[in-house]
Subunit: 333 residues, 2 copies
C-alpha cells in the first residue's frame, strides 16, 4: 500500500511530517510518496537522521499557506505540494492521501481534483472522537457551513458505513444533534432532516442533546458543518480548560500536591484518552479516493496515527461501500 | 421589592420552589407573590415547616406541563400558575417574575402576555456562564432556533447592556461564536452578522472559536438559539462527563484513593464553580418586564439564587437601559 503525503502541510512541516512518515513505514509497513521540495526534504531528513527508506519524492517546490484562499489551489498555487499530491492520488500513484495543511484548500482539492463519489452532494469532514465509552463519529465538522436536509441525510449514510466498516460497530446508532429529544424540536433544518433520517433505513435513534454527546448516546452524530465545528472545538476547549483548572487545584497547597502525585499517572492516561489528536486525523468522506486531513498542529505521532487510520480506511474499502450505498440510494428514488 | 413566582414550575415544584422562596426572603429581603393552588401550597408549606412570611398567594389551581405545547398557555391553560403569574407581572402586581417551568411556555407567555420592549425583534434567553476567569453571557441559548442577522446584532446590544449594568463589566467585549477567527469565516448567517457587529458601536472583538469560549475570550458570546443551546448543553455535558471519569480514575486503586482524599475538597470547590446551576437562572432579555427562567431541575438553593439574580436585574433597571438602547438604535437608522 502506498500513501501520498504532503510533506509541507501543517504548522510543523516538514520535520514532524517526515518523522511521522518514518514511524508509519515501520509501524504499518506502508510505502510513502512525499510531495514537496525534494531538496528541502532530503536536507531536513539528513540533518535529523530520518530514514527515507520506502519513501519516494515528487518534487513540488511551491506551498499553499494556511492563510491563503482555497481557490488559489486552482490558480496561483496549481503546482504546490498539496495540489501535486492530490493530482498524484487522482492519477493512481497511491492508494490514499494524508495531509496536515489548510482544511479549506484540502477540501477544495479533494472536490475539484479528485472528485466526489457519484451521488454524493457534498463530502464531509468527519473525525472520530472519544466519549465516556469508546468513540463516535461527528459528521460534518467543518466542510460545509451551510447545509440542506438531504446533505445531512447523506452524512448519516456515510457515517454509518464508516463506523461499520472501519470501527467494526454493528448497525451503528445514528443521532441528530439537536436542542431537545422530541421529534419536533430544533430549527427548520433539523425539522426537515428528522423525517429523512426516519425513512433512511439506518438505525436512527432520534435527536441527541449536546449534553448527551460525551456519553454513549449514539455512534454517529449528524450535524451541519457549522454546528459540528462548534461541537468539535468546544469539546476540546472545555476539556483542556478543565484539565488546566484541575492542575491549578492540584498545585494549590502542599496537601493537594501530595495528592496529585498519587493520581498523576492515571490522570495522564485519562487526558490522553480524551485528546482527539491521538486519533490522528479525519477523512473527507464522500471523495472518490481516500483523503485524510491530519490536525494542523500535528506532531510526528499524530501524523503517524493519521496514516494508520488512512490505511484502515483503504483496507476496509470505505469508498467502495459508500459508492454502493449511494447507488442504492439513487435506485430507490 | 416584590417577585412573582410560579410555585408549580419545574421538576421539583412546589416543595423546592417554596424552600427557595423562603431562603430568598431571608437572604435578599424580598416579598414574594406565589401563583398556584393555594391549598397545595399551604399544605406543603405546613408539612415541611416552611414559613410563608412575606409571601402572598394568587390562587391558580391549573398547571402547564413540561411536555405540553407552549400554545396551550393561550388556549386550554389560560389560567395555569404560569399564565396567572405573567398576567400579574403585566398588571404591575410585582417587579419581576421567576419560574422553573417549561422554557417554551415561559417564552410564549413573556412575549404574548408581557410583551417585548419596543424595537426588540425577539427576546433571547441568556444565561451567565462560568469560564476560566469570571463569567460570560451566552445570548441566545434557546429562545430562537432560527435567527436573522439583525436579531444577532440586537442580542449583542442587549448582552452588552446586561454585562455592564448587572455584572459591572466596563465596555463588555462582544464575540461572535464562529468556526474561525478570520472576518470571512462561517455560514451565511455569520457572514451577514459580522459587518453589523462591526458597525454597532459596541466593543466587538470579532469571531470567537468554540475552543476559546471557556477561556477569557470575551464577555458576551453572540449566537443563534440553536447554536447557543448546543454550546450550553455541551459545556455542561463535557464538564460532567469529565468529572465522572476523573472520579473513576480516583477510585481505581488504593494509591489513587489516598490521593483523591487529599484533593477532594478543592475539587468540589472547582466543580461547584463550574456548575451553572449555582448561577440560578437566565433572563429572557428583551421582554418589557423582568422575566427569569430558573433551571427546570432547580433545587431550593438554585431557585433562591435565581431570585437573587432577578433582584439585581430589577435594581439595575436593565429593561430601562435596553429600552433606551433600542430607542437609540432606531433613531440611528
Amino acid at each position: 500500500m502506498r500513501i501520498i503525503v504532503d510533506a509541507f502541510g501543517g504548522d510543523n512541516a516538514p520535520l514532524e511530517i517526515l518523522k511521522g512518515c518514518e514511524m508509519a513505514v515501520k509501524k504499518f509497513g506502508v510505502e510513502i510518496l512525499l510531495t514537496g521540495s525534494e531538496e528541502v526534504i532530503r536536507r531536513v531528513a539528513k540533518d535529523n537522521n530520518i530514514s527515507l527508506e520506502h519513501m519516494e519524492i515528487l518534487d513540488a517546490p511551491d506551498v499553499i499557506g494556511m492563510e491563503e484562499h482555497p481557490n488559489e489551489l486552482r490558480k496561483s498555487k496549481k503546482n504546490c505540494s498539496l495540489a501535486v499530491a492530490l493530482r498524484a492520488l487522482d492519477e493512481g500513484l497511491g492508494d490514499g492521501f494524508v495531509g496536515a495543511g489548510s482544511t479549506g484548500a484540502t477540501l477544495m482539492g479533494a472536490t475539484t481534483i479528485v472528485g466526489r463519489i457519484k451521488g454524493v452532494k457534498r463530502p464531509a469532514l468527519a473525525p472520530v472522537m472519544p466519549k465516556s465509552e469508546g468513540v463516535f463519529m461527528l459528521i460534518d465538522c467543518g466542510a460545509n457551513a451551510d447545509c440542506r436536509a438531504e446533505m445531512l441525510a447523506q452524512f448519516a449514510t456515510m457515517g454509518s458505513v464508516y463506523m461499520e466498516k472501519v470501527m467494526g460497530v454493528k448497525n451503528p446508532r445514528i443521532g441528530l444533534a439537536n436542542v431537545g429529544t422530541e421529534d419536533t424540536k430544533g430549527d427548520a433544518l433539523r425539522q426537515e432532516t428528522f423525517p429523512l433520517l426516519q425513512q433512511s433505513g439506518l438505525n436512527f435513534v432520534g435527536n441527541i442533546e449536546a449534553r448527551d454527546i460525551p456519553y454513549d448516546a449514539c455512534d454517529v452524530v449528524v450535524c451541519d458543518g457549522f454546528t459540528g465545528n462548534i461541537i468539535l472545538k468546544l469539546y476540546e476547549g472545555v476539556a483542556t480548560a478543565l484539565f488546566g483548572m484541575i492542575k491549578g487545584v492540584m498545585m494549590s497547597s502542599l496537601k493537594t500536591k501530595i495528592g496529585a502525585a498519587l493520581i498523576k499517572k492515571d490522570m495522564y492516561t485519562l487526558k490522553s484518552k480524551l485528546d482527539y489528536n491521538e486519533y490522528g486525523g479525519a477523512p473527507f468522506i464522500g471523495v472518490k479516493k481516500p483523503v485524510f486531513k491530519a490536525h494542523g498542529s500535528s506532531m510526528a505521532l499524530t501524523f503517524c496515527n493519521a496514516i494508520g487510520q488512512a490505511k484502515t480506511y483503504i483496507e476496509a474499502d470505505v469508498v467502495g461501500a459508500i459508492s454502493a450505498a449511494m447507488a442504492g440510494d439513487s435506485s430507490e428514488q
